[in-house]
């Protein structure tokens, strides 16, 4: 078969319409990529301002009301417009069909609709920011959000509500695709771990997001009418909101991290040239996380007035949910043992992920430990904990994926030395930004503070200094990736080389991905067959 003769998916029309009306999962993936990159910049700009504000203890750069809007916007944009869609909507969209040997997702039109819903919600959120923004934090706690805030709460929750439907539809699309569209021979036990992680994530998306939608709808109704569900003066219960919110938002943190874990599994086997260690355990732990993750939401409410006995149960279950994460870390580490390791840029990101995620996960144990959480809840300790996981983990993995699959997406290499430099800067900048926040938190600095006690200044200055390194680290890929898109050398179908179906088609792939129906004979990650026989690796199997 002569696959190179087909035009690749980028060449199938260049008009705006050919992009905005496309049903090709790969093009939709790119649409998402541009959108979330834009949102990442917006979220980052907000963070730049409040990190600058925090250089001095006094609130002197922006007013308190502005500061509160900045961190709220930062949280809402980063969570719903960047992290939640990031890996699933970009790489999941691009790779799920390619990895299982399908032409497209099960419902290509629905996929395009998801993107439009996402853009509609995103536009409303950004629009509300332009009009004056919200000041509730990304958590929208009642009764502040329902009765007291004078900001654009209704607009913001409407935006998030709509974005939620985009997640639900994408999740549904992935589940059906993974069940129904696997090529012959692609048994469940041969699915790449990235697919398993997408599958687990999709289950959460489909089951948890409707609860968020309902909760946000109630917030809007509380603002617009006298409903009273969360209004204690009418017999409502503001804590009910927290239960509903975290029932979604705890699983949502796994929506952000599971896909990242999938990326790690792919990249680490490739650059260790070894089959992944403990395939069943890594795949199973994704499902375990998705399942147990639904039962731990109350760990955000240990000091809220919830019964201390409920606190015990939620603390216990939170300890259980950490085990599958630990299993993954151990298996990744063991995968490196006796491998043949190349520290290319994607691998640097992924190794950075493992280190930072381990710290994030272990500090998860700290905050799940009741006595400690009474002290550190709502302090910078918690802020550091979740940034280690969401930025140190999920964002690192996003960049890892970006470099790893870039040649597949665009058919060109990225500049390796620049990419390594960026990875190292991000790692260093990240630690300098967020490690001091653990200290601040344990010393008692509450989060969401516009001004703070003078003794906290040194660590805040360090954190802001780190943030500036981090910012440069994030900026570099924008520049060299843009350059590489046009000018970098072509990469060929399988530059690393890696196993996996996506590497057996040309880069960039054709519109229909495969020229026939692929048949899968190899086990997954058959790196031993790829490199085992002779010293000279032969190229990817055809």
């Amino acid at each position: 078969m002569n696959e190179t003769a087909l035009p690749n998916y980028l060449q199938e029309g260049t008009s705006l319409g050919s992009w905005l009306l496309t049903r090709d999962h790969k093009r939709i993936a790119l649409l998402y990529m541009f959108a979330i990159t834009f949102f990442f910049v917006i979220g980052g700009i907000a963070a730049t301002f409040f990190r600058l504000e925090l250089v001095t203890p006094k609130g002197d750069l922006v007013e308190a009301a502005t500061y509160n809007r900045l961190f709220s916007l930062h949280g809402i944009v980063m969570v719903w417009l960047f992290l939640i869609p990031s890996i699933p909507a970009v790489f999941g969209n691009f790779l799920v069909p390619l990895m299982i040997g399908a032409k497209d997702l099960a419902f290509p039109r629905l996929n395009l609709l998801s993107w439009y819903l996402f853009m509609a919600g995103g536009t409303i959120i950004i629009g509300s920011a332009v009009l004056g923004s919200v000041d509730t934090g990304w958590t929208f706690y009642t009764p502040y959000s329902s009765l007291y805030s004078n900001s654009h709460v209704v607009a913001a929750v409407t935006g998030v509500f709509i974005v939620g439907f985009s997640s639900i539809l994408t999740g549904l699309n992935f589940i059906v695709t993974i069940h129904k569209m696997r090529a012959p021979g692609m048994r469940w036990g041969r699915l790449p771990l990235f697919i398993w992680s997408q599958y687990a994530t999709s289950i959460i998306n489909v089951l948890a997001t409707p609860v968020l939608a309902m909760t946000l709808a109630l917030i809007a109704l509380e603002n617009l009418t006298d409903l009273g569900i969360f209004n204690p003066w009418k017999g409502g219960d503001p804590l009910l909101f927290q239960h509903l919110f975290w029932f979604y938002s705890h699983p949502a943190v796994y929506i952000m991290i599971l896909p990242a874990m999938g990326v790690v599994s792919e990249v680490i086997t490739c650059f260790a040239r070894k089959r992944v260690f403990g395939y069943n355990f890594i795949a199973g732990s994704s499902l375990a996380i998705a399942f147990i993750g639904f039962m731990v939401w109350g760990h955000h409410m240990f000091v809220s007035g919830q019964s201390p006995y409920a606190g015990l149960v939620f603390s216990f279950l939170s300890m259980l949910v950490a085990v599958p994460s630990a299993i993954k870390v151990f298996n990744w580490t063991t995968t490196l043992y006796q491998g043949s390791i190349l520290l290319s840029a994607p691998m640097l990101y992924v190794i950075g992920f493992i280190g930072l995620f381990t710290i994030g996960g272990l500090t998860g144990i700290f905050v799940a430990t009741l006595a400690i959480d009474v002290h550190v809840h709502d302090t910078y300790f918690v802020v550091a904990h979740f940034h280690y996981i969401m930025v140190g983990g999920a964002v690192m993995a996003y960049f890892g994926a970006l470099h790893f699959w870039w040649p597949k997406m665009f058919g060109r290499m990225y500049p390796e030395s620049w990419a390594r430099l960026a990875a190292i800067m991000i790692f260093v900048g990240f630690n300098l930004t967020f490690f001091p926040q653990f200290v601040l938190g344990y010393q008692g600095m509450p989060r969401r503070y516009h001004s703070y006690a003078p003794e906290f200044q040194v660590w805040n200055v360090l954190s802001s200094a780190g943030a500036s390194i981090l910012a440069v680290g994030y900026l570099l890929p924008f520049i060299y990736m843009a350059w590489s898109w046009k000018y970098a050398p072509r990469s060929g179908p399988n530059p690393w080389p890696a196993t996996g179906l996506e590497w057996q088609v040309p880069s960039p792939p054709s519109k229909d991905n495969f020229s026939g129906i692929p048949h899968i004979e190899d086990e997954v990650y058959a790196y031993d067959q790829l490199f085992g026989k002779s010293d000279e690796p032969h190229s990817a199997p055809s």
């Binding site: 308190a64 043949s340 272990l362 009474v374 509450p446």
Partner: protein
């Protein structure tokens, strides 16, 4: 080097919390170093230059998987158990002899009321070596009273009393923060807890004058708000008399009974129809919107002060 200082330990369980924290820090630190060490070692030892192709092809080992899962779980459960033990201590109800203070959170200040009627704003004086109990309520949104030196915080809810208690051990002045984001000036909802030696504390209390005890203020309010037009001490009145009811069970119109405590009194003022005392008509109007949380506290103190009085 102020910024490197360990945070002050000024309450009876501060050291306990720090102990769990330090032990978790050591074990987790060890785990991070182990994993990071292994990764770095493998990356160097098995670098592609030294090892152009992998030598090892075992890709799963059940004993290893079970082994590390069990070790991780054991550590996590150990953290759970230790943390839970201290938490139950902290969050159990306060000892009976505790010095009882009331706190009202509102955007954006803390108001405190001592039993003798003394009030403070953003400052709370307490004696050391004696349990101090704070009955918490918010007048508007959710706040959270946080005293880092005591390693303690508790959310402050509108329309529901919550409680926290601690035993200060070290005289001094400590930060008091609002930890739950509560709107524009959240970061200015801060103050000081001043822990004093018992004798100093008595002195400080002695210096307060003029305000009258909380109960006396409550008695005045009961008259000025018109409560006594129905709640007369004569047995013929159309509403129950306050004497001798505090802390005792009371029979309700629906046949159940409840104990008269702070929460019940508060509810009866704001939502009188919720629990009507047996043999009385649900005739009382709601005072919601007409009375502040401070006033409710004063009236409660007044009713409490009548607890020894005989109810006829």
């Amino acid at each position: 080097m102020e910024f490197l200082k360990w945070p002050q330990q000024a309450s009876a369980f501060a050291a306990d919390v720090d102990h769990v924290f330090i032990v978790l820090l050591i074990v987790s630190g060890g785990a991070v170093l182990l994993i990071a060490g292994l990764i770095v070692f493998f990356c160097v030892r098995y670098s592609r230059k030294k090892q152009p192709r992998p030598v090892h092809h075992t890709n799963t080992k059940l004993s290893l998987e079970i082994g590390w899962s069990v070790i991780a779980l054991a550590f996590f459960l150990f953290a759970f158990a230790w943390g839970a033990r201290i938490y139950l201590q902290m969050y159990r109800t306060a000892p009976d002899d505790a010095y009882a203070v009331y706190a009202i959170g509102k955007q954006w200040m803390w108001k405190f009321q001592h039993p003798d009627g003394r009030r403070e704003i953003n400052e709370l004086h307490v004696p050391v070596n004696r349990p101090v109990k704070i009955n918490l309520i918010s007048q508007d949104v959710i706040h959270s009273l946080y005293i880092p030196a005591f390693r303690l915080k508790h959310d402050v809810l509108p329309m529901a009393y919550t409680e926290m208690w601690f035993e200060p051990t070290l005289p001094g002045s400590y930060h008091l923060f609002c930890a739950e984001y509560c709107g524009t000036s959240h970061s200015e909802m801060v103050g000081q807890v001043i822990a004093m030696r018992p004798e100093d504390f008595e002195n400080w209390l002695g210096n307060s004058q003029g305000m009258g005890s909380t109960a006396q203020q409550g008695a005045k309010l009961v008259a000025s708000l018109g409560c006594t037009s129905c709640h007369k001490s004569e047995s013929t009145s159309i509403a129950p008399w306050f004497g001798g009811i505090y802390g005792k069970p009371v029979e309700l119109a629906d046949g159940t009974s409840t104990v008269v405590n702070d929460a019940y009194i508060r509810e009866s003022i704001l939502n009188p129809q919720a629990k009507v005392v047996r043999n009385f008509q649900p005739a009382m109007p709601s005072y919601q919107g007409r009375i502040t949380e401070d006033e409710i506290l004063s009236i409660t103190a007044y009713i409490k002060s009548l607890r020894e009085q005989k109810n006829e």
